[in-house]
């Protein structure tokens, strides 16, 4: 089936493509490709060396295969690692110079970039395939000393920060996909919040995959200096295609003393069609280090898209009294698969972590919560609370919970609660009797099920996320 035919099938409303002329790297994974990427981004020598080091390491690493959702072998030589609209490849760009087609794309996605129509109180970095095409509200943020730009720009303009923190949470040799990302990452966001500064607006990145046969290798680095606060949100969409596309991102967060980072994701990559053809492989490494005392990192994710979602946004609780949180909604419908959860590594004293996971599975989908809570021997008086709830719709889907729990000292406590329920026919009947049709009833019940997590999202996005939850499950009961 052709991409054009696919477009008409179902109401994934972000499934369109934008017709722009692209610049691509040579096909395949090679030193030549890495040099091409580094060169086109006008990177300093140290960055290229860093990439090549990762590439050398990659040669000895093996692709992991312990995950539940299996996928056909990816031919890494058959992918493009860099693809960018020609018009956007000569950075930096002012908004007037951006290809109108790209502006139109973001407008269609509900993310207006032009000055007068910007979202109120939300600064956006827009990443289109391998490049950041625009970052809004930059000037206002600069006045406060906040740096919000693409990672490519940060490498050129703030090398001291990038050198100090890049790879400090996800080391070069971490695991196959993370190391692949380190070698070939293209663009993503960079955020630095100076000491004692509360970022005055939501920062967000909108990731868009447009080109075919292309992987997206996003790299995001967020540093919250002492006593600062930032709330960051990312959204993602991609065209409908019958090929599977790889999105292998690395996201690193660093919170110093008394700093707080709130990181929210609304992931709506193309999930594939009802038969399971196409869709994004969302293989992402997200890790935050609560490096300072009293620091806090909170992950919230609403995962509704992708053919396969495979990610564990994690917290390393190094600083004493630091706090890690993970709130997750993972919805899988049709043939979607998810293997997601978190890792909470307690190193400092009196560290706390909280995990609330809501998995919803419909159609033939399979949904797995996998999570590690590890309290090391020096992390005295630490606590974890985990709650994993699964909701099943229909009788062909699956839900699984695999918690890994390691407590190495007697002063710490770990609690784990898990439930699995089927969407209740009686509840549906009750709603129907009150005049709600089936879709409304499901949406209401599911949103109720997810409420604890939805509440964590910034207000501006909570409503959108609620709608997305409903849309993702359309047609799953009937």
């Amino acid at each position: 089936m052709k991409t054009e035919d696919l477009k008409n099938i179902k109401d994934y409303k972000y499934g369109f493509t934008t017709d722009v002329e692209n610049i691509r790297s040579p096909k395949g994974l090679s030193e030549e490709t890495i040099r091409f990427i580094s060169n086109i981004k006008k990177e300093p020598e140290w960055m290229l060396e860093w990439r090549l080091k990762a590439f050398n390491r990659l040669k000895v690493l093996k692709e992991p295969d312990w995950q539940k959702p299996k996928y056909p072998k990816i031919n890494y030589q058959d992918l493009y690692y860099y693809s960018a609209p020609k018009s956007a490849s000569e950075n930096p760009k002012s908004l007037d110079e951006i290809d109108p087609k790209i502006l139109e794309t973001y407008k269609k996605l509900g993310i207006p970039l032009v000055e007068q129509k910007r979202l109120n109180g939300i600064a956006v970095d827009a990443v289109f395939d391998s490049v950041s095409v625009a970052t809004t509200f930059k000037d206002e943020l600069t006045k406060k000393g906040i740096i919000f730009c693409s990672i490519s720009e940060a490498i050129q303009k703030h090398p001291e920060l990038v050198k100090k923190y890049l790879g400090s949470v996800i080391p070069l040799s971490d695991h196959y996909f993370a190391t692949l990302n380190s070698a070939v990452f293209t663009d993503g966001s960079f955020v630095y919040i100076p000491p004692n500064t509360k970022c005055p607006m939501e920062l967000s990145t909108y990731f868009r995959i447009n080109a075919s046969e292309t992987g997206q290798f996003e790299r995001t680095l967020i540093i919250a200096d002492k006593g600062s606060y930032v709330s960051y949100l990312e959204g993602c969409t991609a065209p409908m295609r019958d090929e599977n596309q790889l999105h292998a991102a690395n996201v690193e967060l660093i919170a110093l003393d008394d700093a707080e980072i709130k990181y929210s994701t609304v992931q709506n990559w193309y999930p594939g069609d009802e038969k399971g053809v196409g869709g994004i492989y969302n293989f992402v490494t997200k890790r935050g280090a609560c490096r300072g005392k009293n620091s806090k990192i909170s992950w919230t994710q609403v995962e509704t898209g992708s053919a396969i979602t495979w990610k564990y946004p994690s917290c390393i609780l190094q600083g004493d009294n630091s706090v890690g949180e993970f709130y997750s909604i993972a919805i899988t419908n049709n043939f979607q698969k998810a293997d997601t959860g978190t890792k909470m590594i307690h190193l400092g004293k009196n560290t706390k972590s909280k995990i609330i996971s809501k998995g919803i599975s419909a159609g033939n989908a399979d949904n797995m919560y996998r999570g590690l809570v590890e309290i090391k021997n020096k992390a005295i008086n630490s606590r974890n609370y985990t709650q994993c709830d699964s909701l099943l719709m229909g009788n062909k889907c699956g839900a699984h919970t695999i918690p890994y729990i390691k407590n190495n000292n007697a002063t710490s406590t770990i609690e784990h609660e898990a439930t699995t329920t089927k969407i209740n026919e009686e509840q549906l009947y009750y709603c129907n009797q009150r005049g709600l049709d089936q879709e409304e009833a499901v949406s209401l019940i599911v949103n109720g099920f997810c409420k604890e997590v939805l509440q964590q999202l910034p207000m501006e996005f909570a409503v959108e996320a609620q709608k997305l939850v409903a849309i993702s499950l359309e047609g799953s009961v009937g």
Partner: protein, 244 residues
């Protein structure tokens, strides 16, 4: 308003209703009484369109055959069932649920949906009529409600949705005398010439507060006796065994 002819209902190979006939006109209050297992709740379920029943016979509601209509369409056309065991829906605010419900019905009836403020005003007014605390409206739907609170919540929904035909399925069970009086007052204040009630109950005591025009005795899937309000009083004294 409602004409039931030779209604049969079968579920899991069990024949529950075996040729039931009943006519209800606007403004009337009908009570259905009967021993356990006689088919009272099945009748409520069948009228509201619950899935899983094999139906024979004919039910006409305002001249329209009910078998063609889904549960929500029946609700939108003014059939309301106060549940014997109202369902809990965790995470869903009572207020939100009621507004979604009222607006679904209004939309289907071609009326303008109510905005949040208008609805809030309306619900506060109706809630205070039933002596329901406002705080109760921001709690999760029926979660942790006492039996009495759940039943009051059903009556609140009835008053909000303004149905033409209200079916009360053992609304009196689990209620203390005070709650019973509040529920009955709620029904009496809503009762008018246009709408009708079908009250399913085991006991006469609810009928002390809501005076029925007709009392029917349901036994073994059929109405075996029909009378006026005195029949209920008589049954209370003699029990079902004398007539069944």
């Amino acid at each position: 308003m409602l004409n039931i002819k030779n209604l049969e209902a079968i579920i899991d190979n069990k024949h529950i209703l075996k040729g039931l006939n009943l006519d209800i006109k606007p403004g009337e209050v009908h009570a259905i009484m009967g021993p356990n297992g006689s088919g009272k709740s099945t009748l409520a379920n069948v009228l509201s369109g619950k899935n899983g029943y094999e139906i024979k016979g004919d039910i006409k509601y305002n001249g329209e055959s009910l078998s063609e209509l889904s549960t929500e369409e029946r609700a939108q056309k003014g059939i309301f069932l106060a549940f014997q065991y109202p369902l809990e829906i965790p995470g869903v605010n009572t207020n939100t649920f009621l507004r979604t419900s009222v607006n679904s019905v209004r939309k289907a009836q071609g009326e303008k949906e109510l905005d949040t403020l208008t609805f809030l005003k309306l619900i506060k007014e109706k809630a205070s009529e039933l002596g329901i605390d406002e705080k109760f409206l921001s709690r999760q739907l029926n979660v942790g409600f006492s039996g009495g609170e759940k039943k009051k919540n059903e009556i609140l929904q009835m008053k909000l949705l303004q149905p033409k035909l209200s079916i009360l399925d053992e609304t009196d069970s689990g209620l203390d005398i005070d709650a019973l009086r509040i529920v009955a007052d709620g029904v009496n204040s809503y009762k008018n010439k246009e709408n009708a009630f079908l009250i399913i109950t085991h006991y006469q005591r609810l009928l002390d507060y809501i005076k029925p025009d007709y009392v029917h005795v349901l036994s073994n899937g059929k109405i075996i006796k029909t009378g006026n309000a005195d029949l209920g009083v008589q049954l209370e004294k003699t029990g079902y065994s004398n007539i069944v």
